[in-house]
Structures are given as structure tokens and as C-alpha cells.
């Protein structure tokens, strides 16, 4: 039996707010499932018979090859940076994360611009070397091209996770391997790779989810997959039912990926409980090996960041007079203000739920934590549909209330305003803000909270006077991560933005789709610069904390 005392102990501002937020997340996502039970229409029969197979094969190829290639690049770089000492290692260490600053859709149109008939490479070959070029060799707008773009821009997820996992391992592992007669490569394959498996698989699953979420690359390259098909069913054919069915197939793939991740990770959690571990000591490699390692790092960095960025800078110089105008300033204001407002809201919500979870720390908190993190696994297109369906319903039921305030009110208020976009961002990116803040609370522990309670402060005062200040690094990390993700976001923004509302991301995508890649460069560069600064700031923050 639940006593009154127990109820009073557990019901407070934090628990009520957390429960409300969790309910909103559940209701939004249930909308998709609820609509699945409608009777399928002719359109769906057509899609199922003729198109679904292609969507499945294309999606399968993209996630399989991107997964494998980014796995190879990410783990090899993570290993090289942790284990070897070579020229410019300290710069590579953080610079190799920079490809993350380039959203894949920007990478896609930049690379196809570099490689097409009027691009810098073909001009050079044609005009300087007088070569006749087979266009087939330079066509990147296909599945292998998309795999290249995804792999070279998304590998940092795996690199980062492998690097930070290996950095925490003990030197004795490697030394033991050497004493037993293994060379560095054998140690990597036989010891380091197996112990990093859970971390690496976590990274790969993030990459795969990013590929499933993508709309920009596949649309620009004309590859039919689920996200483009959902878009088309809905906006070209006005067929919401089929769009929902496609979404549910896509969601099934997502859940399959998540289950596979869980199975592959297994129950193995290798970490050192001993706090006295000696960090891995790096080998000083000499001779040709040193330069091979250096050139490999430089090649990946060039492909993932330097080359596309240089191309974008060149285009920016060519197009800035025609692009920089009042309209462009509006784009910046729109992007920054929507990203700032949403990020603040996400951070507040993340703090509320993670503080509640810390206080509660039982089954409920585990469930809340899972639900909060769910949004990041669901592709943007699907979230966009769920949010529209929900808010149109809410608008319909609130029409009477709107009328009290304004007799000429249109029926759809929330679902035609920027509110809808912000709401959808929150559902999608909550996990990004939640994770660092939850681990921030974990790091602080419960002792200061309890000390404050015994000194006469309630949960809220304790939070404001004690936790908030100690949580500052985690809040800054969460803020930067969410802000950058929103700034780069494309599918949600394309679908849910109000009429005539553009952001840097949507504008660059629009320009690129209208074959105006040079005009797209400046807004793309702005996104990349802000993201690159953010990545650097995060790195400095991490180093400061370690010190």
C-alpha cells in the first residue's frame, strides 16, 4: 500500500514536470502507431508491390557500407591517435573530429560540385592536361557516392568513442601483449579491438541512425530511400496514410538496429575499477611507418574537412556579393534565435528530468531516461509527421479557446507557427542535451544534495544553490551539442518551418537543389564555422576538466 507519507515524499515540482514532459513525448509518438490501423489505400498497394523493395535494398546498402567503412576509418584513427606518437598528433587529435562540423547534405553538394564537369578537378584535367574524361568516373550521385559522403563525414562518432575508450585503458594491457611477443598491430587486433567492442558498436549505431535520419544527401543524389519516399508520399501525393506506413517500416528498421546494437554489445562491459591505472604510453614510431600514419591521418582530414571547406571558401568568395543582403541577415537571425530558444528549453527540460531521475533513482527513473533518449533514434521525417498530426488535432480541439481571444482566428494556430518546429526539435534533440546533464549529475553524486537537505534546504533550493553551479560544465557541453545539431538540422526544418521561414540549413539546401551551389556556400560556411568553433570549445572544456 502506498502511504500518504510516500506520496508526499515523491510528489514535487520536479516529479510533476518530468511526468508531464514524458507524457507529451509518448503521446506524440503514439500518433504514428495509432494511424497505422487505418485501412491501406491503393497508393500503398502500389508502393508495397513496386517500390518498397528498392527502399529496403537502398537503405540496407547505405547503412551496411557506411557502417563498415566508417568503422574502419574511426577505429583505425582512434587507435593511431591513442597508441602512436607522430608529427602533429596533438592537432590531428581534435582536428579529426572536424568533419562532424560539415552536415552530410553540404558535403554532398560540395563534392558533386568539385567532381562535376565544371568542377575544379575536371577543368584541371581537361584544360591543363588536355585529357578527355569519361563522366562515369566522376559521377558521385549514386549509392557508392552517398556511402563515401556519409563515411567520411560521420566516422568521427566512432573515432571519438574509440579514442576516449582507449585513453581510459591501462598501459599494462599493451605491455603484457608486447611481453607475450605481439607487435602493435597484433595487439590492436587481439586486445584493443575486442575490449573496445561495446564502445565501437555504440559509435557505429550512432552513424547508422544518422544515415537513416538523412534526407539531404539522398534527395540531392536522387537515391530512393524511406525518408525521401515519406516526403514524396506526403507532399507530392498528399497521402498521409502511406507516409505513416513507410514511417513505421523505417521505425522497424531503427528498432532492429537498436536491438542488434544491444545484442552485439553483449553483457561485456570492460572497464577498470582500479583508479590507479597507468594511462597508455604512446610508441614513438620512426622511419616510414611514422609518415604512413601521418599521411593516413592527413588524407582522412583532407577528404573529410579540408577539401570541402576550401571549395566552399572559394565559392563563398565568388558569390558573396550576390548573397550577402538583408535577407541573409534574416536567415542568420532566424537560425540563431530558433536554435537558442530551443536549446534553452531542451536544457531546462533535461535538467528537470535528470534531477528527478537522480532523486527517484528507481524503475521509473530508468523508464523516463529511456523515453527521453528515444527521440534521437527516430528519423526526423517521422518525428515531423508525428508532430504535425498531433498539433493539428490539438489546434482542432482548442479552436473554441482561440476564438475567445480572437474572433477572427484561423483554425490552425500552433501547427502553422514556429512553435511546431521548436516542439519537434525538442522531441528529436532532447537526448543530446539529456545525456551530458545526466552524466553531470552522476559525476556530482548525491552527497552534496543530501548534505544540503539536512541543512534545511528543499529540493528546488538545493538545486539552485548547490547542483546548478556544480553542473555548469555539463550544461555548457549540452548547450553546445544541441545548439550545433539544431543549426545543422534539415529534414524537420524543411517540413515544419512556417511559410516563408528559412534557416541557414534550409537556404543552403534550397540553393543547392536549384543548381546554385556557389550561392549555397556562404550559409554552409557559416554553419561549418560555428560548428567547428563549438567542437574546439568542447575539446578545450574536456581538457580543462581533465586537468
Amino acid at each position: 500500500m502506498i502511504s500518504m507519507g510516500k506520496i508526499r515524499k515523491n510528489v514535487n515540482l520536479w516529479s510533476i514536470l518530468s511526468t508531464l514532459i514524458i507524457l507529451v513525448i509518448i503521446i506524440t509518438n503514439l500518433n504514428i502507431i495509432q494511424n497505422l490501423f487505418n485501412k491501406p489505400n491503393d497508393n500503398w498497394t502500389h508502393i508495397r508491390e513496386y517500390l518498397l523493395k528498392d527502399y529496403l535494398i537502398n537503405t540496407g546498402l547505405l547503412i551496411l557500407f557506411t557502417g563498415v567503412i566508417s568503422l574502419i576509418i574511426g577505429t583505425s584513427l582512434g587507435w593511431i591517435i591513442t597508441v602512436f606518437e607522430f608529427p602533429l598528433r596533438r592537432i590531428f587529435k581534435w582536428a579529426l573530429v572536424l568533419p562532424m562540423a560539415i552536415p552530410p547534405y553540404i558535403g554532398a553538394y560540395t563534392y558533386s560540385g568539385i567532381l562535376d564537369y565544371t568542377g575544379i578537378i575536371q577543368i584541371f584535367l581537361r584544360e591543363r592536361l588536355g585529357l578527355t574524361i569519361n563522366q562515369g568516373y566522376f559521377d558521385i550521385m549514386n549509392i557508392p557516392g552517398a556511402v563515401f559522403i556519409f563515411s567520411i563525414l560521420l566516422y568521427p562518432y566512432i573515432y571519438l568513442i574509440t579514442k576516449s575508450f582507449l585513453e581510459k585503458q591501462s598501459s599494462s594491457l599493451i605491455e603484457n601483449g608486447r611481453v607475450l611477443g605481439n607487435n602493435p598491430f597484433q595487439i590492436f587486433i587481439k586486445i584493443l579491438l575486442p575490449i573496445s567492442r561495446p564502445a565501437i558498436i555504440g559509435g557505429v549505431s550512432l552513424v547508422v541512425l544518422e544515415v537513416l535520419n538523412d534526407y539531404g544527401v539522398v534527395k540531392y543524389f536522387g537515391i530512393p530511400v524511406f525518408s525521401t519516399a515519406i516526403f514524396k508520399s506526403w507532399f507530392s501525393f498528399g497521402d498521409i496514410d502511406s507516409a505513416i506506413r513507410l514511417s513505421s517500416v523505417l521505425l522497424t528498421i531503427v528498432f532492429f538496429v537498436l536491438i542488434l546494437e544491444k545484442i552485439l554489445r553483449g553483457r561485456k562491459k570492460y572497464s577498470f575499477s582500479n583508479s590507479k591505472i597507468r594511462p597508455i604510453k604512446r610508441y614513438k614510431i620512426k622511419g616510414i611507418s611514422k609518415w604512413i600514419v601521418f599521411l593516413y591521418s592527413l588524407l582522412i582530414l583532407s577528404l573529410g574537412f579540408i577539401i570541402p571547406t576550401l571549395q566552399l571558401i572559394r565559392w563563398s568568395i565568388m558569390s558573396f556579393t550576390s548573397v550577402l543582403d538583408y535577407e541573409f541577415i534574416r536567415l542568420i537571425i532566424n537560425s540563431i534565435s530558433v536554435a537558442t530558444i530551443t536549446t534553452l528549453l531542451i536544457i531546462i527540460i533535461a535538467i528537470v528530468i535528470s534531477n528527478f531521475n537522480r532523486i527517484e533513482s528507481g524503475l521509473i527513473s530508468k523508464i523516463y531516461s529511456k523515453i527521453t533518449s528515444i527521440g534521437y533514434s527516430i528519423p526526423g521525417v517521422v518525428i515531423a509527421m508525428a508532430v504535425i498530426l498531433l498539433l493539428v488535432k490539438v489546434d482542432n480541439s482548442l479552436y473554441g479557446v482561440y476564438k475567445i481571444f480572437n474572433s477572427n482566428t484561423p483554425k490552425l494556430v500552433m501547427s502553422t507557427s514556429v512553435f511546431m518546429l521548436i516542439f519537434a526539435y525538442i522531441i528529436r534533440f532532447l537526448a543530446i542535451g539529456f545525456n551530458p546533464i545526466e552524466s553531470g549529475f552522476d559525476k556530482i553524486g548525491k552527497q552534496f544534495f543530501e548534505a544540503s537537505r539536512t541543512l534545511g534546504k528543499n529540493v528546488t533550493t538545493t538545486f539552485l544553490k548547490v547542483d546548478l553551479i556544480m553542473l555548469k560544465p555539463a550544461i555548457i557541453t549540452g548547450f553546445i551539442l544541441v545548439f550545433v545539431d539544431i543549426l545543422k538540422e534539415l529534414p524537420l526544418t524543411l517540413i515544419l518551418r512556417p511559410f516563408n521561414f528559412n534557416t541557414l540549413a534550409t537556404k543552403s539546401f534550397e540553393y543547392a537543389n536549384d543548381e546554385m551551389v556557389q550561392e549555397a556556400a556562404i550559409s554552409s560556411m557559416l554553419i561549418i564555422i560555428i560548428s567547428a568553433i563549438a567542437i574546439y570549445a568542447l575539446f578545450s572544456l574536456e581538457n580543462k576538466e581533465v586537468k
Binding site: G5, K9, Q447, A451, R453, L455, G456, I469
Partner: protein
């Protein structure tokens, strides 16, 4: 009876067995009680239950005839007027020594706050350390500040969780003596838990021996140890 615990049961979420199993105990005003037991005997849990940081399954706790918890009541930790010194002190790292001590004195006016701050700093003989941050203090000094912070709001009862566990052997004897003096001067009912008989002998006047959440012996220190 100043503090009365009756038929108290407690179990952690992930545990099958009771951590506290039908515990009954009374403490008189002014007592310094040691709860003695091996690790895992549930001794720290008793302090957490008295402070309101954990919620018992059954039973009741009352202090000075006011019910702190029973099946209908649960007074929140911040309203119990019970001071606690944590095992690792839990001094707020972003606050100076003075700020840490002033933290629990919000209900007093400014003048009273300052005078109480100086009073407890004198009591623990650390007036000159008031502007230092916790990380600038030694382990023994941190412990004294944690004690000062806990007694500053004049709680009805002071709880101390393994007060000597973080100190090295040389320091222990000195701190035991100091602590006994401070507690005498402060005249405060105190419960502390320890696994060390010497700690109990040095400071307490009464002792309870605990094993697997069950009280197996109680009485005056001289009779038990």
C-alpha cells in the same frame, strides 16, 4: 526518551534481505551514542533513516515527542532539524568555509548569522580558515568544518557517519580527543556509526552493537566494550 525508533524495517530496492530488521532503540537527551558494527551491518542506513534520506518500509521514528515518520507521516529531511556529518564530509566545493557554514543558517537574521558563524568557528578553532575553499584544507580540517556546518543551525540531534574513516592513524587519536571536547562544549545529542571499538570507547557514553540489521547488544560503553 528523546529519540525513539520503533519496529523499524528497511530494504534497499535491489536487495532481497532486510537491511534493517525490526529495530527498536531509544536515546536520551545529551547522550553520545555509538552504533558499532561491521560493514554491511546496516549502521549507516540507520543514520540515513533518522535523517529522512531513506524511507523505511514499516515502523516509526519520533524526536522529542514529534513524529518524524510513521505510516501516515513523513517529515522531509530539510524539516527534521537533524544535523549530519557525512562520511566524506560533502563540503560544497564551490563555497568557502564561511559560506559552507552559513548555508544552513538562512532562517536567522544577518547579525545572528555572523555571530553564530564566529561562534562555531571558535568552537572548532578554525577562525583563520574562514575564507579558504574545501580543497585548500587537510582531511582533519575538512572534517571539523563539516562538523561546524552540521551543528551551526543548532539541530536537535547530530548524526555522524564513520567520522574517522578518512583520517590516517596518527591523526585519529588527536581528532577523537578534539571531537569529544567539541561535542561536550556544544552539548548536543549525538549518534555516530563506526566499525572501530576504539572510536566508540573514546567518544561515546552509550553503545549499540548491530549485526545484519538487528540490534544484538546495547548499554553503557564500559559494560559493552
Amino acid at each position: 526518551m528523546f529519540l525513539n525508533i520503533k519496529d523499524l524495517y528497511f530494504k534497499y530496492n535491489n536487495s532481497k534481505e532486510y537491511t534493517i530488521n525490526k529495530l527498536n532503540m531509544n536515546i536520551d537527551r545529551g547522550d553520545v551514542l555509538a552504533i558499532l558494527g561491521e560493514s554491511g551491518s546496516g549502521k549507516s542506513t540507520i543514520l540515513r533513516l533518522i535523517a529522512g534520506l531513506e524511507e523505511p518500509l514499516k515502523g516509526s521514528i519520533s524526536l522529542n515527542d514529534n513524529i518524524l515518520m510513521d505510516k501516515n507521516t513523513f517529515i522531509m529531511p530539510e524539516n527534521r532539524e537533524i544535523g549530519m556529518v557525512f562520511q566524506d564530509y560533502a563540503l560544497f566545493p564551490h563555497m568557502t568555509v564561511s559560506k559552507n557554514i552559513l548555508f544552513g543558517l538562512d532562517k536567522m537574521n544577518k547579525k545572528k548569522k555572523i555571530s553564530r558563524l564566529n561562534e562555531v568557528l571558535k568552537l572548532i578553532d578554525m577562525v583563520e580558515y574562514k575564507d579558504r575553499y574545501p580543497h585548500e584544507l587537510s582531511g582533519g580540517q575538512q572534517q571539523r568544518i563539516a562538523l561546524a556546518r552540521a551543528i551551526a543551525p543548532r539541530p536537535s540531534v547530530l548524526l555522524m557517519d564513520e567520522p574517522f574513516s578518512n583520517l590516517d592513524a596518527d591523526l585519529k587519536n588527536k581528532i577523537r580527543k578534539e571531537l569529544k571536547e567539541i561535542l561536550n562544549k556544544a552539548d548536543i545529542t549525538t549518534i555516530f556509526v563506526t566499525h572501530n571499538k576504539e572510536d566508540a570507547r573514546a567518544i561515546a557514553n552509550k553503545v549499540i552493537v548491530l549485526d545484519k540489521g538487528i540490534k544484538i547488544n546495547k548499554g553503557l560503553v564500559d559494560n559493552i566494550i
